[in-house]
């Protein structure tokens, strides 16, 4: 919000364009290759107009021509155009013939506005206030609990005092009740131990109970539901799939055609991260939980740097150095080797949502194993899920015959033969 205000205040500073509209246009058309304050695929664009006017003596008309048809300008032999072209590895700038002069005015107005004030101060302010407010509510809970504990302790002490006082009075009166009772009564545990039936029942119950728990414990051996290992690069599915709504299969593309969903290779990351070099976070700044975990904007930006290091991207010169360090991700979902699972069967053929098995990935800051991945879990789903036969010529005949045989409208995967051992174990 603060930036917007600044941008708007700069409205018309030099150009007479609308900086707010310009910002939208800039993000839409230019941001993939240009930044305001930073060299990327193309040069930094802050105050580009005045820079060009001062250094090169080029006017707005030149910019119109360049933006609308940069290859044409290069071809015409324009000195500066060719210089820029050569400087940036001969990466031709996409021509934007659809932009009107007014649009370009707006964009230039946006670029002419002073670079946005770093949001960090605002963010830290906000986070500080958040932290203090969060802290006070925490203390109040503790105070209540502490008070309760204190009252309880007082009650105990009082009870003890009353008891001793009464005992003294009784002593003073020469009465002793306890001893008489003690002689007559058999202790409960002894009575219990003497009753063979009760002992037997208890032992049987104990054995059954422990067997139940032992079985339960053993059955979870090797089931790693909730397994959330620390990864070499803190990759947040929440930011990518949740906040930015990137389709799962954009990165995990082989899930469509292969048995593995595939961990994206680093060049896929670089499709976006060539231009996204820092994490700007929410406009409101990091949430308090994020901060509690240390997930500040700097933290995330630092993770992007790790990616650059791994893929060998030289940010300064916007070049690949060729020195790569493949990332050793820790595998979260481990099926045993003797179970064959094919992603494309489920994703492309059956149209199962990724979330059905992997859970709300778009909410996972740290990826974890959502489903148990046990055979029982697979089998249950195969029993309950109908096969998606619509529009698939392969299924036409078999569906007609099988649904007649079973007398059902929709066939489950199990009825289609999805429970046969050999379908997954070979």
């Amino acid at each position: 919000m603060a930036q917007d205000a600044v941008a708007e205040s700069g409205d018309g500073a030099a150009s007479g364009g609308d900086a707010a509209a310009g910002k939208a246009l800039f993000n839409q058309n230019c941001a993939a290759c240009h930044s305001l304050d930073r060299k990327m695929t193309g040069p930094a664009l802050a105050n580009v107009e005045s820079r060009l006017a001062e250094d090169e003596g080029l006017d707005r008309e030149w910019l119109y021509a360049w933006i609308k048809n940069s290859p044409g300008v290069i071809k015409s032999g324009d000195a500066y155009a060719n210089k820029v072209y050569a400087e940036y590895n001969q990466a031709a700038m996409t021509p934007f013939p659809t932009l009107t002069n007014a649009d370009i005015d707006n964009i230039l107005a946006y670029t002419a506005a002073p670079p946005p004030a770093p949001a960090a101060t605002a963010a830290t302010d906000a986070s500080a206030s958040d932290a203090s407010s969060g802290g006070s509510s925490g203390i109040s809970n503790e105070v209540i609990l502490g008070a309760l504990v204190l009252i309880f302790a007082l009650l105990v002490v009082m009870l003890f005092l009353v008891n001793t006082t009464l005992r003294r009075i009784a002593e003073a009166n020469g009465i002793s009740i306890e001893k008489e009772n003690a002689e007559k009564r058999v202790p409960v545990w002894k009575a219990f131990a003497q009753n063979q039936f009760l002992v037997l029942v208890t032992v049987v119950l104990l054995l059954l109970g422990s067997a139940y728990f032992a079985y339960g414990w053993m059955m979870q051996v090797g089931v790693d539901q909730g397994y959330a290992p620390i990864q070499p690069i803190h990759y947040s599915h929440k930011i990518h799939a949740g906040d930015n709504k990137i389709e799962c299969k954009y990165c995990h593309s082989s899930a469509r055609v292969s048995k593995t969903s595939g961990i994206p290779s680093l060049n896929v990351c670089m499709n976006c991260h060539k231009s996204i070099y820092e994490y700007k976070g929410n406009p409101e700044g990091p949430s308090k939980e994020d901060l509690a975990n240390g997930y500040t904007n700097e933290f995330y930006t630092n993770e992007i740097k790790k990616l650059y290091k791994a893929v060998g991207w030289d940010e300064e010169n916007q070049k690949y150095t060729g020195e790569t360090q493949p990332v050793e991700w820790v595998r979260v979902h481990n099926l045993p080797d003797f179970a064959y699972f094919n992603h494309s069967q489920h994703v492309s053929v059956a149209g199962v949502e990724c979330q059905t098995c992997h859970g709300p990935v778009e909410e996972m800051e740290v990826m974890y194993q959502y489903s148990p991945l046990t055979m029982g879990w697979c089998v249950n789903c195969h029993r309950e899920t109908n096969v998606k036969v619509e529009g698939n010529e392969y299924y036409e005949k078999i569906h007609a015959e099988l649904s007649k045989k079973y007398g059902v409208e929709n066939l489950t995967a199990a009825q289609m033969g999805g429970l046969e051992c050999g379908k997954c174990h070979y």
Binding site: E328, E393, K397
Partner: protein, 1037 residues
Amino acid sequence: MASNKKYWKSEAELNPNDSIVEALKQNEFVEEIPVDDFLGDKETLSSTNTNRRDFLKYVGFSTAAASLAACEGPVVKSIPYVVQPENIVPGVANYYATSIANGFDFASILIKTREGRPIKVENNNLAKVGGSANARVQASVLSLYDSTRLQGPMANGEPIEWDVLNAAVKAKMGSLAGSSKKIVLLTQTYASPSTNRLISELKAVNQNVEHVTYDAISEDAALTAYENTYGERALADYDFEKADLIVSFSADFLSDWQGGGYDSGYAKGRVPKNGKMSRHVQLEANMSLTGANADKRFPLTPSAQKVVLAKLYGKLNGTSVGGNTSEYDAIVDKVAAEIKKAGSKAVVVTGLDDLDAQMVVLAINKMLGSKAFDVASPRYIRQGNVKALKALISDMNSGRVGALIMDGVNPLYSLPNAAEFKEGLGKVDLSVAFTTNWNETAEAVQYVAAANHYLESWGDVEFKKGHYSLMQPTIKELFDTKQFQDAVLDWMGSDSSYYDYIRETWAGGILNGASWNQALQDGVFVVNNIGEEEIADVKVGEEEGGEDTVGVSIASAVRNLANVTAGGMELTLYSKVGMGDGQQASNPWLQEFPDPITRVSWDNYVTVSRADAEALGVENVNVANGGMDGNYVNVTVDGVTIEKVPVVVQPGQAKGSIGLSFGYGKKVGMKEAMQTGVNAFVLYKDFNANQTVSIEKAPGNHEFACVQLHKTLMGRGDIIKETTLEIFNTKDHAEWNHVPQVSLNHQEVPATSVDLWDSFDRSIGHHFNLSIDLNACTGCGACVIACHAENNVPVVGKAEVRKSRDMHWLRIDRYYSSEDTFEGDNIKKDEFDGLWGEKGSLGGFGEMEHPADNPQVAFQPVMCQHCNHAPCETVCPVAATSHGRQGQNQMAYNRCVGTRYCANNCPYKVRRFNWFLYNNNDEFDFHMNNDLGKMVLNPDVNVRSRGVIEKCSMCIQKTQKTILDAKRDGRVIEDGEFQTACSSACSSGAMVFGDVNDEKSKVSELKESNRMYHLLEHIGTQPNVFYHVKVRNTNEA
């Protein structure tokens, strides 16, 4: 009363005063137990902090800790590509068309790669020539991952850089320029247009360069005969599909004769169509794969074959041929009559290493105008020149060779006069050997250049005139290796790579405007307009040779042949289907591959006839642990003796002849387990596979690893059903394809109509069946290796195979008849009457265990029959094996507890038990214990652990993949898409796999055929694998 008995411990007790008796009363032992000796010093023992209790605590703790630690799952790392290649999707296989051309095997093939690793060889169905991969080619992918491969160039046993090697060669070539000393390239046969061009360019640059081609197993006689007749050094091609009568003199054309690859054409003619099939007559000494498939086989020694061939020529030509013996006249008359009747539909071939014989055979085919005989487009895949090689060796010894550069050859192993060659090598100034593995020649040369495997190389092949094929790398070089051609380009000072060079060659003279990319994708390219030119060429050849001179030389050749006399025992050297010329001797799949005829793996041996064996006093015996033992003999040819060669008594071996195979006995650079057999090349005098030999018994017993001990069918005609073409054509199929009958309610009904179980409805969805035509199956064994590769079948080694613990999911049973024919066996068995007497079954069955001296032979591939009513499924206590709706008998390895009930209850004995952990186990030092060898494993199939049963799955991973692909595309599956590893490897068309619920499929048509039968039909297992009755063409002219 019992208390009265006294038990004596020793006779010392007889004397009550003996001190020992007294001592024994007090102590259990007379002498003090020397506890100190093994508990050590008492002082240290008492002063130690670790007493017995502590020790037990430690043991307890560590056991508990280990078991707790085992509960923790391992951390698995996943490392994606940094930049993923565009055409690789992890988990999806890519196929590339390439060729193998290693000097012995030439084939146009497809390579399946996963994540960039070649893992499987498939046939290239686009190739009309050389498109079938034999067992060795199927296995060649494992040789890529051989852990004994050379990892870089070496000089005098030390690793060096390529620059050093190249500089040395260049310097030498420079210094030899203009000198009288020769630079000789001694290479394998390339049959490569680009390499030929490259070498001729090198010759143009250096005038003293000479190229000598050397085939370890030579076809020099056939090449020279062809050259004499047609003016080009090549081999005539044959299309056996077009022949109605095939007469073969020792030509093992179903395995490696003249480069092999004839089986698919042959098999097509062997399947009876419209009441017709080809007839095959074989005259040979050894029982070869080809002879085993023949309708009529005459066991004759090589010298006898030559006489018969000469007389046959005379008979066909109408001239009388002299010669010494008339004992073969009956054979000659028979064969000649048949050939005359077949006319141009007959073809005669020979594998005799004899120029005269080869000349005569070419003349006969020309005379017949044989339609199967093709000289318009001859084969180039054998080029070895014995004369040039002999000249080279003498040049080397007389110091006339300045530099010797070898590629793809190992003369110090494969030359009979290796010692002479070695001596000459010492006199050569510079010697370089390109080789993939450290071998005998590498030991003796100055520079060892580590060569690429063919799957890492570029190349091209011209199989026969006009039929080209390309070789492309399917993986980057695993080690610091280089291919010969790239090195030559470097020496010539060229900057271009061999790839560029090939493109240049192809653009220049081959493609003629056609697309290079298309040719590369197909792997094959045929120049169409070659035919007319060709015929003209042939005519030129004839004119050059001159009709008369050829005629004269034929007459003298016939005379020579007719006068051949036997000079004692005759040896025929041959190459085995599994080992070939021995290039891939370090390939464990091939070592474990059982020979189709003897079914012996991990060995070579002398084959002798029964009569000769008895005369020599040698025998084979089966011992108690299921192994076969054999005696040793010493084999001597012309003063050269191989000692202690084991003997296999071979039915069908011509009396007075013995056989021995090439390819074994390699020692240098091999793992110990792979050093099997003896080297037969030392007997290969003058590159003639037929030698006069003397043998004598040697002491000792050899332990064979033979997978089939029982040799005969014992008259059980329902296992391999056989009939003759005559009966097949004239009688009802109930007669020759009899369904066994059982008695139900006192009525004879077909056994298939009675069942213990209620049948499931199998008409919905896919129902897979595998059809095996016993007429088309030649027993070549390509399917065995294909199955090995596809299904990660482990190699178990010689000792385990000997104990019948081989793991092959698919075996090819070989049966001999004990009478002259299998029919004779059936009749003999049916005529048994009572236990004793002349027709008694007790003695009779004993006799039937012995194969006849010239038996009929039958092959039968047997894998899991996938019974619909499977006996194995009902006995599994844990339901680890169960039946799928698609007809597959499924095996869940992770469920199996290893009771082996299923294996015991299987009537076909196809289930295999993992007696040991065969992977990651150095006791089984083959390929699954090292990272390199494990790269060949198929990632879609489990690697089984110890203690579980495994068996043929009908390649469920392949059928499932086909189904999934169709589902993803939303389409119906076409016939032919479903394949198993064996059916797709079968180039003879014997194995057809598919969905019988698809009425249009080939397999459902085959199932309806009246030749169809199931194995052991009477036990009611209702298998999903079926066979076709074998028909023999016994129609004599």
